[in-house]
């Protein structure tokens, strides 16, 4: 694995973002809209409930921000790949001495950068606009952030594999995949509030213990370490499976001779 190659690929995305400011708008604009909607909902609920619950309900904003960590990481991988497809650059990359792991690492890093931009903006707005300080999560933020980012990468690889398999017609999966799982990973509500039959499914995803943990930390200042271990363990499994799936699909496209068709259509 070569840092030089990864940084060269990252440089390409940085050039892209500076050349096309519209991409930055998307990074900042949508999260803001989301945040304002949920922020206003929170204010509304706060005004119509007792003080204790009113303070706790701020978890909506925490959930919004953490959800965006996952979503941006996934987008970093999936959209970076699509950028190469849209610009017919994929072949140039595949005939260059770039290993799959280097290519993926570059997209991971782009995911990380996207998260930074979005989170800084959302963190500031939620603090100034709704007096929600994301740093009330203290050091817990670090494992939350890492776990959600890694899960986002896995989802990104899965989305990309699906797009490779089904062609550009499946492009919208790049945006849709995270939302397929949003209902079951308990972003805005507790697992115990979900229908009983669906609760076991919730614990199959590493995001669930993180969102549960976030609410716990906001309420009690600490959380069950077992939740963190569960998230980390599940992440290892997801990352392995997603990486394997991506490589498998890539080889299959090579075998079927579809890689070049895909890259030049």
């Amino acid at each position: 694995m070569s840092i030089r190659i990864i940084s060269a690929l990252v440089l390409r995305y940085l050039f892209l973002y500076t050349r096309t400011p519209m991409r930055l708008v998307e990074l900042v604009f949508w999260p803001l809209v989301d945040l304002v909607v949920w922020g206003n909902v929170t204010v509304f609920i706060q005004k119509n409930s007792d003080a204790e619950f009113g303070g706790f309900i701020l978890f909506f904003l925490g959930a919004m921000i953490l959800w965006d960590v996952l979503f941006r990481a996934q987008q970093g991988v999936a959209i970076s790949f699509l950028e190469d497809v849209w610009t017919r650059n994929l072949l140039n990359v595949f005939v260059a001495p770039v290993r799959t792991v280097e290519y993926l690492s570059a997209t991971f890093f782009v995911g990380f950068l996207r998260i930074l931009v979005t989170c800084v903006v959302m963190g500031l707005v939620s603090w100034i606009g709704y007096s929600f300080n994301i740093f009330q999560l203290h050091w817990w933020l670090v494992p939350f952030f890492l776990n959600l980012m890694v899960f986002g990468w896995s989802l990104g690889m899965i989305s990309t594999a699906l797009i490779l398999r089904w062609g550009q017609a499946a492009e919208s999966l790049a945006w849709a995949v995270p939302f397929f799982i949003q209902p079951v990973v308990a972003v805005f509500y507790r697992v115990e509030d979900m229908p009983a039959w669906s609760q076991p499914f919730a614990w199959l995803f590493p995001a669930t213990p993180i969102f549960e943990g976030m609410r716990e930390v906001m309420k009690t200042g600490t959380m069950n370490w077992n939740h963190l271990w569960l998230a980390a363990g599940l992440n290892v499994i997801y990352l392995t499976i997603a990486g394997w799936l991506f490589v498998w699909v890539l080889n299959m496209t090579r075998k079927r001779g579809l890689l070049t068709k895909f890259a030049t259509q």
Binding site: I5, R12, T20, N89, L91, V95, P97, T260
Partner: protein, 260 residues
């Protein structure tokens, strides 16, 4: 040239390369060698299998059967090592359109680990007579301009092996002529082995030392362009091309096996 065996190092070799798509053979036991410093033209009608051959040789498409070697190494197991010493350009790929020309070239220079990339890029732009395009948006270039930028990318890593798939497609005769001359010049200076496809016979006659005619994935004949014209009952390469494309044979009644 055709009588004396070529003693230069073989840098690319296909042995019985076969590639099927849904049971149809796009390449049928295709074997050839390319030597260091040689330009080998791959000719044939639309669908003859030229691009498929190149894609297999680049590792983009896996062969159904057969063996591929570059620089004496089996291709699949040494893909990255081989790609470091090779490059590719075609009329069908593009560099990201929203970046500036120098940005694109810099990214690829870094990927290929070019020492002193800025200097190298300036040299190549000079060589292809396009220094003025340096700060242009890649996507706004004309076909001829972007072909030359693509060629810059292909020369970045001083490849020993270069694959060019229809590099002159969509170029006007003047620019096509310039591109041919530059390719030939760089190729001679650096002793590059080039696999070259084109539908332009002028291209082939000027650039290629040797050509292989493919028809439905099989070799119909090979030799220097002059040899091939001499072997056939035609006056020029273009007529040979048309003959092979229509009949799959070089002669009306085959007198000898031209491929031997």
């Amino acid at each position: 040239m055709s009588d004396a065996p070529d003693t230069r190092e073989v840098i690319l070799e296909a042995r019985e390369l076969t590639r099927e798509f849904d049971g149809v053979k796009a390449l049928d036991r295709f074997s050839f060698t390319l030597h260091r410093g040689e330009v080998l033209g791959l000719l044939g009608a639309n669908g003859a299998g030229k691009t498929t051959a190149m894609n297999c040789l680049l590792g983009l498409t896996l062969p159904t059967s057969g063996d591929l070697f570059a620089f004496g190494l089996p291709l699949q197991a040494n893909r990255i090592k081989i790609l470091r010493r090779s490059n590719f350009s075609s009329a069908y790929t593009a560099l990201p359109g929203n970046l500036l020309v120098w940005q694109n070239l810099l990214v690829f220079a870094r990927i290929y680990g070019v020492p002193n990339p800025k200097k190298k890029i300036a040299e190549l732009l000079e060589l292809l007579e396009i220094p003025h395009l340096n700060k242009r948006v890649t996507g706004q270039l004309s076909a001829g301009e972007s072909t030359r930028v693509n060629l810059c990318k292909a020369f970045l890593n001083d490849p020993e092996l270069l694959m060019l798939d229809e590099p002159t497609a969509s170029l006007d005769p003047d620019i096509a002529d310039k591109v041919r001359k530059v390719v030939r010049k760089v190729q001679r200076e650096r002793n590059i082995g080039i696999l070259y496809t084109s539908h332009n016979m002028r291209d082939i006659e000027e650039v290629c030392d040797r050509v292989i005619f493919l028809h439905k994935g099989k070799i119909v004949c090979e030799g220097t362009p002059a040899d091939i014209v001499a072997q056939s009952s035609s006056d020029n390469l273009e007529d040979v091309f048309i003959k092979i494309a229509r009949d799959g044979e070089i002669l009306d009644e085959p007198k000898k096996d031209p491929a031997s």
